[in-house]
Symmetry: D3
Subunit: 173 residues, 6 copies
Amino acid sequence: MIRALVIGRFQPFHLGHLSMVKKVIEDCDKLIIGIGSAQFSHSTSNPFTAGERHLMISRSLEDEDIFDYYLIPINDLSVYSEWVAHVESLTPPFDTVLSNNPLTQRLFQEKGYSVREVPFFNRKEYSGREVRRRMIAGENWQELVPGGVAEVMDEIKGVERIRQIARADRYVE
Amino acid sequence: MIRALVIGRFQPFHLGHLSMVKKVIEDCDKLIIGIGSAQFSHSTSNPFTAGERHLMISRSLEDEDIFDYYLIPINDLSVYSEWVAHVESLTPPFDTVLSNNPLTQRLFQEKGYSVREVPFFNRKEYSGREVRRRMIAGENWQELVPGGVAEVMDEIKGVERIRQIARADRYVE
Amino acid sequence: MIRALVIGRFQPFHLGHLSMVKKVIEDCDKLIIGIGSAQFSHSTSNPFTAGERHLMISRSLEDEDIFDYYLIPINDLSVYSEWVAHVESLTPPFDTVLSNNPLTQRLFQEKGYSVREVPFFNRKEYSGREVRRRMIAGENWQELVPGGVAEVMDEIKGVERIRQIARADRYVE
Amino acid sequence: MIRALVIGRFQPFHLGHLSMVKKVIEDCDKLIIGIGSAQFSHSTSNPFTAGERHLMISRSLEDEDIFDYYLIPINDLSVYSEWVAHVESLTPPFDTVLSNNPLTQRLFQEKGYSVREVPFFNRKEYSGREVRRRMIAGENWQELVPGGVAEVMDEIKGVERIRQIARADRYVE
Amino acid sequence: MIRALVIGRFQPFHLGHLSMVKKVIEDCDKLIIGIGSAQFSHSTSNPFTAGERHLMISRSLEDEDIFDYYLIPINDLSVYSEWVAHVESLTPPFDTVLSNNPLTQRLFQEKGYSVREVPFFNRKEYSGREVRRRMIAGENWQELVPGGVAEVMDEIKGVERIRQIARADRYVE
Amino acid sequence: MIRALVIGRFQPFHLGHLSMVKKVIEDCDKLIIGIGSAQFSHSTSNPFTAGERHLMISRSLEDEDIFDYYLIPINDLSVYSEWVAHVESLTPPFDTVLSNNPLTQRLFQEKGYSVREVPFFNRKEYSGREVRRRMIAGENWQELVPGGVAEVMDEIKGVERIRQIARADRYVE
């Protein structure tokens, strides 16, 4: 039995993420998708709650008839040395970690895990940062995300939120 | 759109839980299943990690072809007044809470949620406490849980763990 | 300048507390009233939030034309060795601590504070425990508390809450 | 009954704050003044403890014969989604939130609160940042704060502290 | 290179602990002594701070010319699944764990460590509980501890503290 | 009895630290060496765990036949007002604090401690920052640290770690 773990912030889940999931899920029995920085929300770089991101990802994968995954919120810890144990306690046991982040790679390697690179496509355009920038600027962000994400964004008034919060970044106390 | 939330500790998930899920899922578009006391494990009353319980529940529901649910670990907080907001941040938005616990009911009611009782069947036998007692005593616990739970218990060596921990309860420092 | 500190849980503030405050406030320029176990609420022994207790105490003291006090919520810490520093950071500087609890007395004495006993009257009847018991039992609790506390209890539906929570104590998982 | 909430860091409380309080307190029965970032002190941007700020504000408002307020320390949380519930547990119930910070406005609006702008006068000069700058530079900061704040600053040796800490900002490990 | 880890609460360090250390230190290059429940103090079962226990142990081992050890405070975590990683981050790498506590044994075994029983002598008399009982009762506790521990107890007024705290256990709020 | 406290991050322990310890240990009965920012590791500025730093320091001092010290990990707190109490609970009682950091100096002075400057030699070259820079750049870092530190670095594969993590600093999400 092969289970692989991939962790992202998914702020929000976009077509690059979807394409990545489709590719890596072929090679494993079950893919564990960790929603990273789960405790953060309502900032311009982390606008959406873990629950809202859970909804976006589930909806998008359901629309693609993908069900062989576990979706699990994972908090950031500032104590890096305990983070792998933290992840292990929240997820089903897994064999392989997929990550391009050298710190994540190192932390899992030191605990004996096998680590592989994640295949990403066109990272410049299909990035959370670009989607958020377009939301704030009033440009076309919808073309970068699955239809399910746009639906959820409507339900949670996500664009209204990120625009309001973006003004807070310029707020002088 | 109707989403309902039900929270349990699922230590472990048993046939009473399964029967409850089957009943309540009929009345909602999606059922949000919260794995409560998520941070606790390795004690006789909370032997299994959130990740292990995630695996048990997913496996059992997959075997029943049930997919219209979200499964989400939820930590206990000792600060009860912040707990509903904590739950809200981790889950998709929901309308209704299913719970028989008067404290849980009160906390959600004070935040304006509609609360309903959970239909349970034969709570004396189909209870986490009874399953754990049988595991420790070496009796037939398998008949109280779905087949998927027994499989996971094998994979994670769960019975070996709870028996060893039970000795710790009698350990004198 | 003499400032004294007295800490109570005030679950709820009752006539015994009021009588104590009237007595000790005569001997100091300002009395610092700490609302202890501030983070806890919604349990049978700690039913009311820090904010609700703040309101009860302010209302009761205003009705008595008492204004020479500071009212400050103070969380419990399980790390006792840091608790005095925690209190110091939340309160104006003070000279004297009023407490009958030997642990509280010890913690402040080890940091060099002068500690004095608190004069309490008829502790058996005028106790938070007795007020809460009467609320749950449907007996006359109003005669044990200042009028302002009864008003606040109405506003926050406090009796309804403690009765509902009391059922949780008998709830079997 | 109308209660309004306004939250500031008050590092330190200055004449702009005092003028704001006088204005908004006319429109409400009681004003709840939250001392924000309560846990932070001893840095150049947050030099004073919550208790010291409590003393400064009480002294200044007493000198103005203002008593219709509640003064409550409120910790910052990094988990924004739980912050409103955190505030609610510490304060008496309130109807309206006064804030110019778009993030604060958003957080309270999402929980259903009515939010209004705070009227501030001459924000460039009457700002905590300017008072602190003058303290460090040895310029006239006293003209920017109420007399009570200057008294407290003497009692707690506040200017000595901020000057010493300012040297830490230039300290190379 | 062989390093072994043994964890105790050492409330206080007594002759049974000393005898155990002498025995196990023979079999390893370096013994890592973890001071468990490090954050707790000022209660009847955990009266002494981690720093005070550090002093007691160092003094006692120095008197015996024992130096081949590392002495490290280790906090209790309620999240058991992260505790081994927590210990690992605080200690030099080790091969073997010495413990008689089935929970501790299980936690380290699940992370792949070899675990061995600790040889204790006359546990009924030489126990922290008995030493503390004698301190409170005014009986001869000195005969149960190394001379260095009695010296430290004098320096920190430890007996005075535990007696005062013992009265708190009978304190009614 | 004179005990002095000095706190450093020791990332890693270098010849400047060693020279400082040798100098200050002459003036005290016992030197308490606090390993600061103990909870942090696996970043380019804090690459090594508290346990690894414990090992480096012990090994280096043992090689110099220095034993009159206590070595204690100390976590950073963001709540500065509680930090001195935190340190006090972890260490044996002490009289004097050695520090060049104005914030550390202030915090201990406000609690009544005597504070002295630390004599450092050639801080530009003998600095943790320079050692880490050379490790990442592949230059000669060994000449800046005691032999014991280089040995430990081999055992824990420390250079491999910091180089891998340094790539994470350039990682774009």
